[in-house]
Symmetry: D3
Subunit: 340 residues, 6 copies
């Protein structure tokens, strides 16, 4: 089995049931998730040997996060234990004109305060082919940025392919800080996923005047941004999801993959959202899977897009769909007829 390593934060997620607002909740639904953890679960689900690396407290809430990863087949042997707390995020699910809302309570988490020495990358990467992280991990703290840098450098030295999902988070750092840190990491990266907003906020790269809140999608602008990223960091691939946010209930969903020469565009899906969180992560894992298993660019892109369309019908952060289910949708059966 091909081995993939991801590194980042896993959080406890707490959501009021259904469409309740936070102030109405007398219970929270519990799951665990985070960008890189979500990618690892999805890859394990496709049959790869996926390991997630992080640090969680040595108490039952930390253990519960590990247990959910194990449940879905992720290798958790390299998760460090210690620190004071597990990061938390509260999620309120919107509908129609009311957006979903996230309240983060992730400061001082075990992973943000982890010592870079908690992670022996030589050992962790032994036998692995691919390393994935997102822009959230180095944003957590300077220690976490150091650990990410160590990981990237070691991965490169050991011959792994490295992918990043830029994922700019304004609550974690400023564009200046992001630029400074991410620019040091990019030389090790082969595959870069990021939308226009990420490119602008992290690297000051912008194009056209697409206004994403308007829900319009401008292919030309996306390609221009991808080319600029390519020019600057010499990536092998640049990819971006293209979400048309029509409302909190319904979205258009497609994606682009650029290899420096051709900009591939996927089919677009009209999705009726069950849980949009983790949509981007499921795209990343679909793309990693496609590229790792030797699919052609257009095929890998269609796989990633179909995978992430399906994710958004599954509650929770994790994309619990099989490769076979993704392929059925890729091949055009989105009719929703009952599978008996």
């Amino acid at each position: 089995m091909t081995r993939v390593i991801t590194f980042g934060e896993i959080m406890l997620r707490l959501s009021p049931p259904g469409h309740q607002r936070f102030v109405q909740a007398s219970a929270f639904e519990v799951c665990y998730g985070g960008g890189e953890a979500n990618v690892a679960v999805s890859l394990a689900n496709y049959g790869l040997d996926a390991a997630f690396v992080t640090k969680v407290p040595d108490h039952e809430i930390g253990q519960s996060a590990i247990n959910q990863l194990r449940r879905f087949g992720v290798d958790t042997r390299f998760i460090a234990r210690g620190g004071n707390r597990l990061g938390i995020y509260f999620l309120e699910t919107g509908a129609a004109q009311r957006p979903s809302k996230v309240i983060y309570d992730r400061q001082h988490s075990a992973i943000a305060e982890a010592d870079p020495k908690d992670f022996n990358w030589q050992e962790i990467f032994a036998g692995a082919k691919w390393f994935h992280f997102t822009g959230i991990t180095p944003a957590l703290s300077s220690k976490a940025a150091t650990a990410t840098f160590n990981a990237c450098r070691t991965a490169k030295e050991m011959g792994l392919t490295v992918s990043v999902d830029l994922n700019y988070r304004q609550k974690l750092w400023s564009p200046e800080e992001a630029n400074k840190t991410m620019s040091k990491l990019m030389p090790y990266v082969d595959v870069c996923i990021g939308n226009e907003e990420d490119a602008e906020k992290v690297f000051g790269i912008k194009a056209g005047n697409t206004d994403i809140t308007r829900g319009k999608i401008n292919h030309k602008a996306y390609e221009e941004v991808a080319q600029q990223l390519m020019n600057r960091f010499n990536f092998k691939f640049v990819a971006s999801t293209l979400r048309e946010s029509r409302s909190a209930s319904d979205n258009g969903w497609s994606a682009m993959l650029y290899d420096g020469q051709t900009a591939y565009y996927s089919r677009q899906y009209d999705i009726h959202l069950v849980d949009r969180v983790g949509g981007g992560d499921s795209f990343a894992s679909g793309l990693i899977y496609g590229l790792l298993t030797g699919m052609a660019p257009q095929t890998a892109l269609e796989f990633a897009t179909a995978a992430s369309a399906l994710k958004q019908t599954v509650p929770g952060d994790f994309n619990l769909v099989s490769g076979k289910e993704v392929e059925t949708l890729m091949q055009g059966d989105g009719s929703g007829r009952v599978q008996r």
Copy 2:
């Protein structure tokens, strides 16, 4: 803080979870609501000093109704205690072609049987600027009609602005009874909210031949009705929501405000319904808030319409959205993108 008083009935609401039918339920979700209570909660939510006046039994179910009002910041000091029962309504939530269903069990409630002397309006209105009630309150009983009359007269004497939502309820009274009672109250009213059906049932005022069950909206007819109401009762404003009932799941939603000269129309929202109950009340509270805080008519109308569009994505009777959330939608961001 500007003080607003509302007066009416608050009921225990019992609903089967999700889309279950009554005959399937092994549990009922519990909330409390009623036209004027809903308005008070929404105004408290916007930061006003809102008091709700009613009578509830001196037992734990009555107390629970009070507690829910307090929870959301409503002043409950003038709620009388006593009587035999709290009114109840059972709500079954429809979907697509199956309509939602309400079964009322509100007869003999504490408020319907309350003595008009239970309410000292001079004291209640001290320091207040606005009084709101709906056509449901005087329909409850002749005692309740007397109490409403006392409230209106005192409010006028003390210089409050008075608003009414006509809200004709055929289970409570006949058009004849409604006409007789409501006609006595209208001279005290400044702002009248009511759709065509209300105008026709309560005052025999009709126009055009709009058939609301067909979901078509005829601006001309609405304006004609508004003008007739204006002519007869000399209101400062007449307003109406314009619901296009496409199905139990999806509606078009907009509104009109008429000041005797101009008929203002709001933007229309396509809403995917979570809970349509209280939609009209959230429009009323939005309008009261807009007019009380000095918004221009078009702005107040847009505020009220956006507020009530959002309400219909929130479970329960109460409109638990903030003024800031309403403004974001008013200003055009209905994209539903996650707020992080």
Copy 3:
């Protein structure tokens, strides 16, 4: 009250709540259902005297199935007790591009292993006007096929009208087995319900080149199939639902009824699905009700189609809507306005 008998399997249905996937479930919602049981419940609901015949184990799970039938007014006196197990099916509810999934665990059920002598059809059919079964019953086992044959022959001898819903299930038998068994039963049948796929799989009858997974509907082809069925088995009526599977969340829904001369088509409904299981059964029961109570073909068809559109907004297998509710929708009120 007109008496109708249905015969088949009732299963325990286990579904993860909401849109959870099987692997996420920590609880299963419980209901009971099966083609012929669903028809009986719906007919009882319309006020007919409906009896369901089957065999269930003599333990509490078997008793629970009976209790749910009794709860909704079905006569269960002729249900045999014994055998080892109640059939089970697991249902995962899809959304958007993710289809719903059914896992059957129905082998070795009490009804599949029932002795044909467990059912005294002379006694069962006493006083009855109509007998209904589906192609699932004879597919369960050769004993069940024998019992079905006995039922059909006796029904015919005793003057009952007989209807069948072909309902081909590939997990239960091959087209060859189906053809052989069903061809022996058809001579006793008056009303045959089945879509193109059923006709092709069970009787090798096909027409045109409609590809149902593409969601296109070809009237000509349906009529051709109906005529061939008519030619071969001399049915009085052939009917078919016409589902356009746009996604797991939204479907187009209409139906056709053919009397050998005219092909009647119903109005089409755009349905936002709550629970599509039992949609076909609710069409069958609507049609039986319509024909039994003397409606004209177009009216009976509209009744059946409206009934089954409503069913798909009700959770569970059973169609818990009244005749009056069906009529309201038939007469064009699909506006979803709250019924107070």
Copy 4:
């Protein structure tokens, strides 16, 4: 099957889950129950042909009550439909030193306002052997008292055995009213169930100075009361449960049966309460079953006591235990070992 008729009120019961207080509830668990309905369900469960007679509104909440009775095998054909509302009771489940609490909202119910002519007792009692009611039914209203009187007289004329459970309810009537009405009904009664408090409140009969809140049980006093009841009304049997209320969680439970000569005492059970509501009704149904099926007095008493001990471990009003389960406990196996 032996046929038994019971007559009274069935209510919607609403309870906060677990040990929540009313003011904490965001949902209510739903069941339906009432003294005579509970007896009918239990008798149907033992295999008798039990019919329950009442009146419920012609809406879905009324229908739900009927459906729960049908679910557990009760004949509901003689239930009248109409009136305005179904009685409701709210139940909060106590623990340890905190007592359970009941809030009644039963005034103006369909059965309280039913016309005595709604019930054709000749037809209802056809083929029946036993009629049972409680002191609650005549207490509901003077109409209900008349209907009860008609029932008793007709039952006697038609040769049925008549039993009553005195069940004095201070919220419904005063001792004076109770005495007056009940004294007219007692001449028709054969078997009278009632504890000391009932005897004192309804008939002014008292003995000794047992203080029940002290949880002490005084056999002599009970026998004295039974003898006085016997003297006055010439009953065949007088029975009483003997509850030692140690706390809201744990009770001692036994019973006495007096035939005018011998006072039989049952074994005492230490019960850890799950739901004590309906404990007395399950004793009544156990006793009726025992006497109807010809058990000796001591055996019938042990059956009734064991049955009602088991009831108090079952949530809801209904005693959903089989005759076989009761017999196992009667024969001494209260070990609670798993039945596999």
Copy 5:
């Protein structure tokens, strides 16, 4: 109404349902609580004018904490808004030999990081008679200790009675730190509540050799400790609850009150625990209520003990019982008979 002020932390409490372990939970039940908040709720419940002072973040989770306080009648006007997070505690409910478990995640909370200037004690204490805090508040941070000191000093200056519940928490500070800080606060305190462990850990005061984990209670030792506390800080009253921890399901519960001359002992309750969290707080609020309303020492102690016995049958941190319910138990009715 007599006004009481309490000051401290309110936390979000998250508990797996029933007796689930943390690692099993797919949902957490949500409530809010903390020592001084619990006291305020209980006093509001008894009819006093109780205000709770703290600081919570200006987001919806902070608002939810406020809303729960308002719901139960607490004055929340002096709660400061701001800071980063609301403290959280996770609670797993034990049973029998398995203890309940608490995981704290309270560091960096808004109240721990609050500026002492956030609280204007002159304004807050206007019109108040009593100030209460626990040893947890000064343990949160040195800022919180300063704020507590300011509060105590101002309270004393303004003539309020001051009470403390020592509540030593080893996760928050060492005995040395506790001793240093608490010793500065004690001169302002009139009523001190604390058990032997608190006295030893906070002030190094010990007596006898009672081993509390053994569940034995030694009156002499408690009195000795109380006297030492009295000697050192000149309190008016020293009180302590006396819990016999027999298991996680069953406890003995009583208390002692010492006025420098007499050691009063309450009746002991055998409690079957529903939720023991907040037991001590409900004792404190009962004692405050008793002393504030002029009860004699023995009566106040019995009130406080009965109140806290009842609390432990109510889920959540808050003691939602009325004064009347406490009095019923005090007067000896712990029979648990249903209150109808």
Copy 6:
């Protein structure tokens, strides 16, 4: 890490919530369990490398069983996939005098129909120290008996210690069949766990006249049985739990371990049951852990007994307690004081 292998059936367990009866359930709580799976989970929990071997269907219900094992750290690599169904058991939780009830629906399961060649024992046992099975596995089918025999023989050849829990199940086989099959397996067994009933049913060994349903425990008789087992099969240890079934809510719980010379008895626990299923399995895993890690017999026995006392406070089949928690109880702290 020490490696342990267990082999047997894992089933889907379906239980009505709380104390509901089967006929009341509208949902089932879902977990997965079975004797040997439970042992593996418990050992993984104590930090051993535990693998569970079975066969489950290649669908999502089978996958869910695997996922739950992975979640709690069990090695599932040797679980074969295929076959038709996962065994199911329905569990109703009793209370007081009402026993819990199990309905098995396990026939035709994948493991019962597995080919002995599905399991390569040489590979499975590589590196392992201990093999455990129960008498249920060979009882499933003759194929399963052959697989068990192969496992035992290979284990012995490869030098593993072998333990068995006799666990006689009358629904699966007769005493004669059990005797025949088990007698062939015992020569490979080192540690035999079984109570008197097992010994009598499986091997015809009996002693004294202890009547277990009477809840009396007779040490002499147990020792006699242990000695007879020892004589016949030359075990190293014979162990038995000693359950005093006082009711379905409360049990006495202790155990005995016999090494051929000394009969060791553990401390007895009074347990208030949350979930008694898996009590015996948690004793077995505790004993295996104790003996494998070199504890003295009395210590190992106390560990096993304390572990299994704790298990019965945890919902579900699995014993989710840590070694440290067991040790705390062993060392005498059963006070149930909150662990903060």
